[in-house]
Amino acid sequence: DVKVTQSSRYLVKRTGEKVFLECVQDMDHENMFWYRQDPGLGLRLIYFSYDVKMKEKGDIPEGYSVSREKKERFSLILESASTNQTSMYLCASSSMLPGLAGGPSEQYFGPGTRLTVT
């Protein structure tokens, strides 16, 4: 069974603080993702990593950075947290192999971290 764990379920930080969100997967997946979920906007991709030390910007990378030093771990960093980064953050992982009918491989999600920036 695939397991994706996130370091915290709830986090409260102050404006200007540096924030680290950690994600670990145990399925030896090559791909890892960070999304944020906001009401009415669904899930929006922040960053995607397809290998150690490799990353690609998603739809909303501004204000965020990522780090992938080990295959199983993908970190999201808010360099200077702002109130508009208050959100639910979801990490996911997937295999690099194609999925059903040649489509994308299934993404497995962690339970999420609800971050509040005050």
């Binding site: 669904g42 009918a101 489509g103 299934e106 999600f109």
Partner: protein, 112 residues
């Protein structure tokens, strides 16, 4: 501008009846579509998918229909059960790029 839209934020259905969740997209390059289901305090889980070369895919009580000319897909759940109450997201991909574009979600409530 959102490339994948779910125009109904919520839907309420009686147990045993059909639930129909809708999704529209604007990018004609999308060639693969997925539905994810999310319970509170859990991450989304994959439900069903469809390739753009098909117009229907079925898995038990769940069927996804794709109308490429209308850029519209729908998820049918028959019969609906209280355990189906969750938020449903549609998502789209192209060229197996793995960078999914999600809709805003529809909260389904199935009443006993």
């Amino acid at each position: 501008d959102q490339q994948v839209k779910q125009n109904s934020p919520s839907l309420s259905v009686q147990e045993g009846r059909i639930s129909i969740l809708n999704c529209d997209y604007t990018n004609s390059m999308f060639d693969y579509f997925l539905w994810y289901k999310k319970y509170p305090a859990e991450g989304p889980t994959f439900l069903i998918s469809i390739s753009s070369i098909k117009d229907k895919n079925e898995d038990g009580r769940f069927t996804v229909f794709l109308n490429k000319s209308a850029k519209h897909l729908s998820l049918h759940i028959v019969p609906s059960q209280p355990g189906d109450s969750a938020v449903y997201f549609c998502a789209a991909d192209y060229n197996a790029g793995n960078m999914l574009t999600f809709g805003g979600g529809t909260r389904l409530m199935v009443k006993p």
